[in-house]
Symmetry: C2
Subunit: 192 residues, 2 copies
Amino acid sequence: VSDIIHYKFRQHIEQIIPLTDEEYNFAVAHFSSKTFLKRQYIIQEGNYVDNDYYIVSGLAKSSYTDEQGREYILQFAMNDNWITDPQAFYNRTRATLNVYCIEKCETLSISLENKKKLCASLNKMELFFSKRITEGCIAMQRRILCLISNNAQDRYQDLLANCPGLIQRVPKTMIASYLGVSRETLSRLILS
Amino acid sequence: VSDIIHYKFRQHIEQIIPLTDEEYNFAVAHFSSKTFLKRQYIIQEGNYVDNDYYIVSGLAKSSYTDEQGREYILQFAMNDNWITDPQAFYNRTRATLNVYCIEKCETLSISLENKKKLCASLNKMELFFSKRITEGCIAMQRRILCLISNNAQDRYQDLLANCPGLIQRVPKTMIASYLGVSRETLSRLILS
């Protein structure tokens, strides 16, 4: 693990909870560093999901493909985001999602076993993960509200705020798929 | 707190993690018992949110009302569900949601302070809350997928599975609002 990865990851944790050097070294020892190339899959539908991934750099997406082959994008993950198939990861079942690298991704990954060990031995990391999942839930609830109220404009603004620069890095069809709108509706959102 | 409430609540916790009598008594001492009448608000938009509520019996909904006065239902909570405005509860900000009793509700409520104390002193309850929020996230992710893929049928089936009997207990307009569909679409879903 390079210095820049350590620097970014420690900053990411310490935005929520400060750690001593000893605590940080103990925590990071539970993670593995993995690099995925552009167009590689981090998780493939049908496989078991061994890890939760922190994206150090690059850009990935998680998506579901229906029986007609249509793809629905659940999440984009770039610097400082985490991505996995949570259902498969936490329940040790097979993935129903794909996680795909739109750009080359440097990641730090943690297995469920290591996550449990880490949380059991360092309460600060338990608090970190708990805070993070709570924030994730709140963001998802907001997205659900925007979806049931059919407010595509807010969904688009939230995406811009959460993933600055994303719009320049991915095809418009992906943005439309994430928002659950047509290409035509997306064009109107971009112009307005 | 009556025996039946203790029985239900302990069963609810022990579905995830078994507790000794001593641990259960310690945990439940962090909760308060409150009854809300039909048509009362558990949480009102604009107020601070002091508690997370476990619904022992009855039926409540959380919803957002937009500037045009249209209501969007985020959640129904009946036996064994938890309900609050998570954003306001965890961030100690003012509620943007209403939580309203469709039927008289018996609840056990816990403040954020007590929740933190409880989790810090009894790791099993930390695990309980963490497991519950993870399951909540997974369910929300599924709902988001059903929404962006415009799959109202699956959304309807998920609601029936999560809240058995709900359809007989609330007006159809509320079900339609939860699903984000028109009354006409809902009628087609019910018939199909």
